[in-house]
Symmetry: C3
Subunit: 334 residues, 3 copies
């Protein structure tokens, strides 16, 4: 890959040798003389100056760095684009592996690749160019769209509906029963979980994440949303479009989340909440109340993030405040 | 299904057309003119009034709603009963799939169904009418009771003992080694985990939940208990009968929990605790001390729930309290 | 096993019958007349006195207990050693199961055992005496060392590098994509994850734990470290040697952790932190700042553990402090 081809691809201004050949993309620390690197923030400028990279993608305010540079407005977004040039195919198998069990009633699209020991049950539909690793189980009446990638050991329960360009990492379970029990006489009575899971387009779900089927109707992850590893999505939850959920987040039953949510790691949301659009929830926060659009909360229990930070600051100096109360008492009595 | 048949089944009083034919059970919002819905709490009365449902299960105090109604004392419990009428079989395969590897020394009950690519090791016993999805691994010397349902991709380690009418969702791992190491010289030395896992009757365990084998002796989940997804049960834990553990709960080694516990999502319990019967632990709470019967705790660290709520209230107004301290100081010095 | 053989093995002083035959190792509560037990701490002395054990491993200060005793400096470490005598082989299969799919380009060591339905892709190397359970997937260009044990349903993504004497429990996923997206225009753009996972020697990883591949370069778990179940290790994290991570811990991207860390259950670490050697993080703590060597922190947000305990103590008596402020105000105004 020539440097000018990369510059053209990311719409950047090239300085240096247009014909310079790039071998690989690499971090500031690890890049070698044939690699291209990128500087996302000027606080890492020293690393750029020490980097052995043969070329760098830099923001407009940077004029230092290697001889070969491409200047763009958003180097991190450019890095995303360039990373795709170096992407390796996750799987190299072709067609349907002879050990894959595909029910005759299933509809398999063109150029689909299905790995070893996969099980595709009745009435399943797999869209064009979708790739399944090994040991993927797609249970009956499910539909997976075009251009999807299901890594090895993914399980889709019956009636799961998946859009196009979706990625599921290993160990993902969609369509498990929600935690639905009626209590009477100190015992639990199971409520049959009759719903399903619906996944929009361009969704990515991380390793070992679980999405329960609805009790009635769907549990929904809307288009463009990205879920990290080990997340729990309970029955009848709805995650709006273009939302990002970090690892180990848990969302309880029937909570609806708007568009463009940002939930940091290990945050927990109670059930039956209405969460607006553009909401931010800090790491490990515990949300027990519904939230308006554009709210940012933090803490356990979650509060407005400015208030939470204020309380946190006071807590850090709480021992001194206690001393000041004691002094007031002493001064009064003396 | 006729409405009077449903009324008889749930012991309710019918108003309207006894011969009305019910197609499906549905939520207040989604029910159509051939569906039955239910009202669990009168706060949703407006939804009932707006519902297009053809029939509804309602509590005695409600006389509104559709023409066809069944009145019962506990509509939610009745919903659980009615949901079973509409339950779909999770798997439709019959007998033992030709690709399932069942060791000749295994004992397989009557009417057992075993899916594709399952592996049943030596000396395993599978009870009557138990159903295994695909890719289930049951390692040697394990026993699974009657009428169980093991979804695809479940793994039972050697010597696991499972009662009757148990449900394991996909990705469940029972019998992994506990985190047992002796430290010496700054290094870990493994303590062989020689115990096993015992699961009672009528237990349900959610997707990707892990139950470690005992270091010595069993780790036990007693009859009637329900565990949600992504839960960690460490070695030699005991969860008493009819307990409910919400998603992402973690219980450390050797902690014993009494009957009818209610542990909310992401709660964590330290090791070697004795937790009584009927204990409630709030979401994300961190329990580091043993708890008496009938205790309710909340918070990090977990405290008596009334005290925790009181402290939480004070924290919310802490900035004002700080102002009041400052004012006292100012008034004194002036 | 004779008692004097065990005494020799653990370097202990024998009291009682040297020829006494030991059947099994057992806990104080469950040991029978042919079992050996151990007392790790004198607070359990009453249990020892009530134990039916035929023999006991005790620390020097204990002279009570059964007739047959072995005295050692560290009974818990001795227990680890003795436990190995009674360890059962996790799997009994030999050689490579006929249903295991091993690519012709893979290099399989001597005395390797591979269970049913395993998939070993191109250019994989499996070292001598390594054992794979069933349904293990090792994707292309990965290397697993000697004397490893991979339980059933483990998945190693492409290019994973694993040392010797490593244990992976069921459901472990190594090499899933990290959560790497560039946001622009309110949408996520995937950054291809081009790195890999490197696991040192003598590492153990618990059930359903996930380790993401690096975005560029490796995610590393260094030699001697032990990870419990359901842990999240994000891209480009480094966990130093001989560290211990309890269940459900989450570590965000690019955080580096030194040697001999001790992270308690459900702790969370933010991204891009530098954590020194010998750091302790309490259960459920939220670490958002880098930590020096030998630091112990606790709480949410995590603070120095002594300060955190002090604040926690004040919080417990906060209602009384509020009363004292009110009294000061009242006294002033009267």
């Amino acid at each position: 890959m020539r440097l000018d081809e990369i510059a053209r691809l990311i719409g950047g201004a090239l300085t240096g040798d247009a014909a310079f050949e790039i071998c690989m993309i690499a971090s500031l620390e690890n890049a070698g003389p044939h690699d291209i690197t990128f500087l996302s923030h000027k606080k890492h400028l020293i690393k750029l100056q020490n980097s052995k990279a043969g070329a760098a993608i830099v923001p407009p305010e940077i004029t230092a760095g290697p001889f070969n540079r491409i200047t763009v407005g958003d180097p991190y977004a450019a890095f995303a684009t360039v990373s795709a040039l170096f992407a390796e195919p996750p799987y190299t198998h072709d067609g349907i592996h002879p050990t894959a069990l595909v029910d005759p009633s299933a509809t398999i699209g063109n150029d689909v690749r299905i790995g070893a020991y996969c099980v595709i049950e009745k009435n399943v539909r797999i869209g064009d160019r979708t790739v399944l690793g090994h040991h993927v189980v797609v249970e009956r009446d499910s539909a997976v769209g075009d251009d999807c990638l299901l890594y090895s050991q993914v399980t889709l329960g019956r009636k799961t509906i998946v859009g196009d360009r979706v990625i599921f990492h290993s160990g993902v379970v969609l369509g498990s029963d929600g935690f639905g029990f009626a209590e009477s006489g100190g015992e639990y009575h199971k409520i049959q979980q009759l719903g399903w899971v619906e996944i929009g387009n361009d969704v990515e779900i991380g390793a070992n994440t679980c999405v329960d089927r609805g009790a009635l109707g769907p549990t929904r992850i809307c288009s463009g949303s990205k879920l990290d590893n080990l997340i729990q999505i309970a029955h009848n939850v709805e995650v709006g479009e273009h939302s990002g959920l970090a690892a180990q987040v848990g969302i309880s039953g029937s909570t609806k989340i708007g568009k463009c949510a940002r939930l940091a790691g290990q945050a927990g949301l109670a059930g039956h909440l209405e969460i607006g659009d553009n909401v931010f929830v800090g790491a490990q926060s515990g949300v027990s109340k519904s939230l308006e659009n554009n709210t940012a909360v933090f803490g356990y229990p979650a509060r407005d993030i400015r208030k939470a930070k204020k309380i946190e600051g006071i807590l850090s100096s709480l021992p001194e405040w206690i001393q000041r109360i004691k002094k007031l008492e002493k001064d009064k009595s003396s």
